[in-house]
């Protein structure tokens, strides 16, 4: 009587760990699956031009999703990133076109590098506002960032009265030319935006794994009270994740404006939802404490390739939305199943170890 379940347990243990490995790699498997599927189903899918185009689309979402990952790992959410994208694009556009009027007849024009820095600072500043609302005034992250979503979008629209800043080529005599480099430039054959993504992603992954701040982010998400008693500066950690999210959104705002050579105040609407989707698809737990930068990037690629591939196949955008939604739901269901299996396999390993 006791022999049979024991044997069954052993065999199910090994099949369990195989299944577990498959489940852990699920986002990666999904990525390969969509790649294989579309390279068969969509002509020209595998052409270099298309791959580069797609990865540029993906990069935009991946930036936002990385910022979102840290925020979600601490147990929060940042709904304002889409609006920050829009507002930062407008800031950059405004500075290229108009500079800053100093009231007494002079106008300062910044060069492109300075404009980029200022724009990034604006993104970080808005993130800091989110952080202050959440840490100092105890507003729930959902509400705080929802409020900032509206405020930032409103400011973006006000900045131009709802119009687009067109033709951001700049003037050579003012030193404001070259804005297009970020969005359209190439280094070693790859778009500049991808290189930036690579740098930021490596930095973020390093931060998560090898720095005290990274460890603290996970501790805060896992158990805020315990983290606080252990001396973790919880408020500072939270400030950081929202500021980093704002920073990522500012990068996206810059890249989009630079690519289009124009700033439109409605840019970035609903980007926050794609970012959340990519993070969740990549294994970030909405209840905090779990998530990886690598997973999120892969998640962003799955979503991006899925939507671009479907477009190439001529699937209607209505169906695209249905499919995207289903993929997200399936991802979370598999995630839950994996956790259950994981705890069972851990138990079995402990039993084997004695």
């Amino acid at each position: 009587m006791t022999d049979i379940p024991a044997k069954a347990a052993v065999s199910s243990a090994s099949s369990g760990s195989v299944l577990l490995t498959l489940m852990k790699a699920r986002t990666f498997i999904a990525l390969i699956a969509v790649l294989v599927f579309f390279s068969i189903a969509a002509p020209n899918f595998l052409s270099t031009a298309n791959l580069i185009l797609m990865s540029k689309h993906v990069a935009l979402n991946a930036f936002l999703a990385m910022g979102m990952t840290f925020v979600i790992v601490t147990g929060g959410i940042d709904l304002s990133v889409g609006s920050i994208v829009g507002l930062c694009g407008m800031v950059a556009g405004y500075l290229v076109l108009n500079g800053i009027d100093l009231q007494f007849g002079y106008t300062i024009y910044f060069n492109v590098f300075e404009i980029a820095l200022i724009t990034l600072a604006v993104g970080i500043l808005i993130g800091a506002v989110n952080g202050l609302l959440i840490t100092r005034l105890n507003v729930a992250p959902f509400i705080a960032t929802l409020g900032v979503l509206y405020v930032a979008r409103g400011l973006a629209l006000l900045s131009s009265d709802g119009r687009t800043f067109p033709n951001l080529v700049g003037k050579a005599e003012l030193g404001t030319t070259g804005f297009g480099f970020l969005g359209a430039g190439r280094l070693l054959g790859l778009p500049v935006a991808l290189w930036i993504l690579l740098v930021v992603a490596l930095g973020a992954a390093y931060l998560a794994k090898y720095t005290p701040l990274g460890r603290h982010i996970f501790a805060v998400g896992g158990n805020e009270r315990a983290a606080r008693i252990s001396g973790v500066r919880v408020n500072m950690v939270k400030m950081f994740v929202y500021m980093f999210s704002g920073f990522c959104a500012a990068i996206v705002g810059l890249i989009i404006s630079s690519e289009l050579m124009a700033s439109h105040p409605a840019t970035g609407e609903s980007f926050e939802l794609n970012a959340i989707a990519a993070a969740v698809l990549g294994g970030t737990s909405m209840s905090g404490g779990r998530g990886t930068i690598g997973g999120t990037i892969v998640g962003a690629f799955v979503i991006g390739i899925l939507s671009d591939g479907l477009v190439m196949m001529g699937v209607s955008s209505f169906w695209q939305m249905v499919i995207k939604g289903l993929v997200i739901i399936v991802a979370v269901v598999v995630d839950q199943a994996q956790r259950r299996l994981q705890s069972r396999v851990t138990l079995m390993q402990m039993a084997k170890a004695g």
């Binding site: 720095t211 606080r228 008693i229 252990s230 079995m348 039993a351 084997k352």
Partner: protein
């Protein structure tokens, strides 16, 4: 099992429970007798809770039979067991924090009127009756999350009592109760016994078991190793059955002499949200290498005092000094850096980040030690972790394992290790032995002794009289937020300590209070 007047109401025959690979209970034969307290003891992980969950229908046995009054039964769910008259007080609190006490007591058995609407008044009236018997001072309309853990435990007990069960299982009902509350609980148990209720009682506190138990069953590694009438056994016997050999409960003092003053608190005050002071002008001083036990009942303000010292309350007043130097820093992070460390009472909620690994938990408070610039040096961190695991005898196969997979005692050691890695001068331990087994307790006490020998000052709070008497060099007593007694170990008597622990509520103190307002 000898001639007794108690009938067997429930019998387990050769019951086993296998969890995907681990055998939690092996061929257990267990009898529960009517009108008696049936005690079940064993170290953590011995299978007590599993066995009780089988009786309460929460888990189904893998093999074996359950006989209720001679008739074979099988419970598909805890609801089934409740219908057959089996109630259980769970070890982990199963309460809804966002609901009132009355709503919790009548959860799933709501009292409704003709229109299926919940009759809140009737529920609160009935709930008040049960709470009255526990004399807990809990109003039925209070939210559970506003109660302290000890009070929550009383609500859990009231809930189980309200079931009118024939068999009532209590899994460590006293782990968060003060001595006075334990007395009240024992009265309730005696009352239930007199009405013929069979009580199954699980606890780590041996003296408690010997006092109220009628029959005792000892479990070790899922197997029943001893079953006796309580009048035939003593502590030594129980401990022998539990861990296979005689064990000394408390590490002995080694006679080292405490050094200079290392910590002083002056006039610590913390206002209570409901008015009055939760910590009322507490001043005390601690010497290096000294263990100062703070005894007090639930709500005496011990935990709150520790929180104030750690800088967890912005509104707290008073000054603290470490090694004679004034500590001006008011936040936890910098106070830890100055040499204070807290081992909190509630391991799960405040001590551990349960989804992180053992290693990450251990180094969480001391990461800056392993950092060069901003990079965590993996090798240095691993080395510290391995050393701490060995020093504290933490039983873990791989430090990268999630901390939640450890037993309670080992989790507590992780919390202690985390505090020690910060290199503290003063260690604050809030109920360091709560909810851990005898073996782990002995380890914890040994560690406290060793640390004090190394020159740490240790402040530890407990509501266990034996513990405070056995471990402390000096004993402070708190009551109602005030320091009401301070004894040297040599001159302390249990009677004096207990008397002091009630002083804060006395009439004299009360008028003093008024004068302050």
């Amino acid at each position: 099992m000898g001639a007794t007047g108690h009938d067997v109401i429930l019998k387990l025959e050769d019951v086993s429970k296998v969890y995907s690979g681990t055998v939690a209970v092996k061929r257990a034969n267990f009898e529960v007798r009517k009108g008696a307290v049936n005690v079940l003891v064993g170290e953590n992980g011995a299978g007590k809770s599993t066995l009780m969950k089988i009786i309460a229908g929460v888990e189904q046995p893998t093999a074996g039979r359950i006989l209720l009054e001679g008739e074979e039964v099988s419970f598909a769910s805890s609801g089934d067991a409740v219908n057959r008259g089996i109630g259980m007080v769970f070890q982990e609190l199963n309460l809804f924090g966002n609901m009132s006490v009355a709503e919790n007591i009548f959860a799933t058995r709501e009292i409704t009127n003709r229109f299926r609407k919940i009759d809140r008044k009737a529920q609160e009236r009935r709930a008040a009756e049960f709470l009255e018997r526990l004399q807990a001072g809990i109003r039925p309309d209070m939210l559970v999350e506003d109660l302290r853990i000890g009070q929550q435990q009383l609500v859990e007990i009231a809930k189980a009592v309200s079931l009118d069960a024939r068999i009532l299982i209590m899994d460590e009902p006293t782990s968060a109760l003060s001595a006075a509350e334990v007395e009240i609980l024992f009265k309730v148990i005696a009352d239930l016994k007199a009405r013929g209720v069979a009580i199954v009682y699980i606890s780590h506190r041996l003296e408690e078991l010997i006092r109220i138990g009628d029959y005792i069953t000892v479990l070790r590694d899922g197997r029943i190793t001893g079953q006796e009438e309580m009048k035939n056994v003593d502590t030594q016997w129980i401990v022998r059955q539990m861990i296979g050999s005689d064990a000394k409960d408390f590490a002995k003092a080694d006679g080292h002499v405490p050094g200079e003053e290392i910590f002083r608190a002056e006039a610590i005050c913390l206002p209570r949200a409901t008015g009055g002071l939760a910590v009322d002008h507490v001043s005390l001083s601690l010497r290096a290498g000294e263990i100062l036990g703070i005894y007090g009942l639930m709500g005496a303000g011990r935990s709150e005092l520790f929180d104030c010292i750690m800088g967890r309350h912005g509104q707290a007043t008073g000054e603290i000094f470490i090694a004679g130097r004034h500590v001006r820093e008011r936040d936890t992070t910098r106070r830890i850096r100055r040499g204070l460390a807290l081992i909190p009472e509630d391991r799960q909620r405040e001590g551990l980040v349960s989804i992180l690994s053992v290693a990450s938990n251990l180094t969480l408070a001391s990461l800056s030690r392993f950092v060069r610039l901003f990079h965590i040096r993996g090798a240095a961190e691993r080395q510290a972790v391995v050393q701490m695991v060995r020093e504290l005898a933490i039983k873990v196969a791989d430090p990268m394992q999630e901390v939640s997979s450890l037993s309670g005692g080992n989790q507590q050691k992780v919390v202690i290790g985390k505090a020690l890695l910060t290199g503290p001068k003063v260690l604050l331990m809030d109920e360091p032995s709560r909810g851990i087994d005898v073996g782990a307790k002995a380890d914890v006490f040994r560690t406290m002794r060793k640390l004090s020998r190394d020159g740490l000052g240790i402040l530890f709070a407990t509501s266990d009289l034996d513990e405070v008497m056995a471990l402390s060099d000096r004993i402070a007593v708190m009551s109602n937020g005030k320091l009401t007694g301070m004894f040297d170990r040599a001159e302390a008597t249990e009677a004096a300590i207990v008397a002091a622990s009630a002083l804060g509520h006395g009439p004299v103190a009360h008028t003093e209070n008024k004068a302050h307002d």
